[in-house]
């Protein structure tokens, strides 16, 4: 298949706009766009207050997850790398769960503490995994993924321990949050996530030549003038902060960062000039649709969107592993 980057970007833009406008209309109670535009009070309230912020958050979260997946994959030249498989999301989750637990006892203010803790968690996990992989001086699939698994398992164990120590209401909150969801949001969360995701995406675009060069291998990239140390630092910092910010509001949502860049590479090609914006649009639209499905499949009950993406992503990951071992 030949890549058609411009055409694909155009289609993805249309797709994202359609998802952004269409998704808020559907749900446990369908509303019509004309009612919203006419200012019919119930429809307008549902559209503007309940559903639009949620859809916007899904768009940003999907975009951020896909872009950070792309960043990890290019940096390590490894298609299986993404925030979830590298343990970065688990690190952020551990930080956030710790904060949730402390929040109850210390009665601290909400978002900032959880967010800071989740930043610390994601940065810590990234440093650990990357440190381990670079120490071995290879970013071979096995080293990287094993380090990611080790960090993930350790974080999960500590999270379970914290849940065990908590009372049942607290535990329920934590478990529910760990499933990843976009249910209780307003515009505050949207505005909070926006700069991190936007910053990360713009950085990828600015660094497009460096990232493209990395596709040829680290030695060639360095010989062409890429400062590898600084490039790694920039990309890892941007992706970790994105994941930290997203996990703080939406919990860990897995596999979007794995699936979206992989599929888009086939349509857009490998040039980060097109791939980065494609991940923003495609990842965003993808998570909006997943969230739409999550809140309509079992309506009026809601499926946590993280469960849905993991249901899709697990088999995809397996398929990738098998397909790679053949290629």
């Amino acid at each position: 298949m030949t890549a058609r980057p411009r055409l694909t970007l155009l289609l993805l833009t249309l797709f994202a706009v359609a998802a952004l406008l269409g998704a808020p209309l559907a749900g446990s109670h369908d509303i019509s766009l004309s009612d919203v535009l006419r200012g019919e009070p119930t429809a307008a309230a549902i559209f503007w207050q309940l559903r639009l912020p949620r859809v916007l958050l899904a768009l940003l979260a999907g975009a951020g997850l896909a872009v950070s997946g792309l960043g990890f994959q290019t940096l390590f030249r490894n298609e299986l790398a993404e925030p979830y498989t590298l343990g970065v999301a688990s690190g952020a989750a551990l930080g956030a769960v710790l904060a949730l637990r402390l929040e109850e006892s210390a009665a601290l203010i909400g978002l900032p503490v959880v967010a800071l803790a989740s930043f610390a968690g994601s940065l810590g996990a990234t440093a650990l995994v990357v440190g381990l992989a670079l120490r071995r001086r290879d970013s071979a699939t096995s080293t990287l993924l094993l380090a990611g698994i080790a960090v993930s398992l350790s974080c999960s164990a500590i999270i379970l321990f914290l849940q065990y120590l908590s009372d049942s209401t607290q535990t329920f909150r934590m478990v529910r949050w760990m499933m990843g969801g976009l249910s209780v949001v307003g515009y505050g969360e949207v505005l909070w996530v926006l700069p991190w995701v936007l910053g990360g995406a713009v950085l990828m675009l600015v660094l497009r030549w460096d990232l493209n060069l990395l596709l040829l291998g680290e030695e060639l990239a360095a010989s062409r003038g890429v400062d590898l140390g600084r490039l790694r630092l920039k990309v890892l910092l941007a992706t970790s902060l994105m994941i930290g910010a997203l996990v703080a509001v939406a919990g860990p949502i897995g596999f979007v960062g794995l699936m979206v860049p992989h599929i888009l590479r086939r349509w857009v090609g490998h040039d980060h000039l097109y791939l980065a914006p494609a991940c923003v649009l495609g990842g965003g639209a993808f998570l909006v649709l997943c969230d739409l499905a999550a809140r309509t499949i079992m309506a009026p009950a809601e499926l946590p969107v993280g469960v849905l993406t993991a249901l899709l992503g697990g088999p995809f990951f397996l398929w990738l592993l098998i397909w790679r071992s053949r290629g």
């Binding site: 493209n212 010989s223 062409r224 003038g225």
Partner: protein, 272 residues
């Protein structure tokens, strides 16, 4: 004699406490073709990586026209020195054109939306000179070893650096591709103003190409001189611990490895 383009003094590198290279002094003069020869593990690749600035020397200094490497950024160095490492077959999902365009990296600005016309002109020129016009839109990892090597050389040419450094360009190539590539390298080295430093196991390529040969053994310079001064049975025997015959004598001698299993079994040759 022209002024040195590149000067190395007291250059040394070690790994895990074991000295890999040096200390050695070296000058590369503008316009010359310098060929490194020596057995496996002699430090040829290490020396090339030091000269390109990819490795930081453990001791000693490197300077480009008198300016220390430490004063130059990676990008500035890349505008002066282009490197073609040993190319291992790997999945590179880019086309020939894209790979060659990436050679322009040290001249590109991250904040310009698209490469400038002169970047595309340099790419066209590099592709033409290497003779891979027909392959422009093919994916690099679908090419043969020889074609791929040529593409990476084109990318290095697009970099428009004064010094071209190549590590074992003919390795893993069959006879026909070796001969094609030798022709290409001869053409490039013959261009006025181009300086080439190259490491190779192919002594005949070294003979044809080198204005000067540098015999490297166990990280030290064993001998340095014109091809006729280095490609002699006594020097080669000390260098490789194997016997060579001069098939054709002259300024650019042709040598041949003498395979004499019976004699060598009794002497126990070459343990590196």
């Amino acid at each position: 004699m022209t002024a040195p383009l590149l000067t190395a003094s007291g250059l040394a590198w070690d790994a895990g406490g074991r000295t890999i290279l040096g200390p050695l002094d070296l000058e590369v003069r503008a316009g010359e073709s310098l060929v490194l020869v020596g057995p496996n593990g002699a430090g040829k690749t290490t020396l090339l990586r030091l000269l390109t600035g990819l490795l930081q020397p453990r001791s000693g200094e490197l300077a480009w026209q008198g300016q220390p490497y430490t004063d130059l950024s990676r990008r500035e160095l890349a505008r002066r020195i282009a490197y073609v490492p040993q190319i291992r077959p790997s999945r590179v999902p880019l086309t020939v054109e894209e790979v060659v365009l990436l050679g322009r990296y040290p001249h590109l600005s991250a904040f310009k939306w698209a490469p400038r016309p002169e970047d595309f002109a340099a790419v066209d020129e590099a592709i033409r000179r290497v003779g891979v016009e027909d392959l422009r839109r093919r994916r690099v990892d679908e090419l043969s070893g020889g074609e791929r090597q040529a593409v990476y050389i084109a990318a290095a040419l697009a970099q428009e650096a004064e010094l071209l450094v190549l590590d074992e360009p003919t390795i893993h190539l069959d006879a026909r591709h070796q001969s094609d590539l030798a022709g290409l390298l001869l053409r490039l080295a013959g261009e006025s103003g181009r300086t080439v430093v190259l490491a190779t196991h192919d002594l005949n390529l070294a003979s044809l190409l080198g204005d000067r040969l540098l015999a490297l053994e166990a990280g030290r310079i064993l001998a340095s001189g014109r091809p006729a001064e280095i490609l002699r049975p006594d020097v080669l025997e000390r260098l490789f611990r194997a016997r060579f015959e001069i098939v054709r004598d002259g300024e650019r001698p042709v040598t041949m490895l003498r395979l004499d299993p019976a004699a060598q079994a009794s002497e126990k040759v070459g343990t590196t």
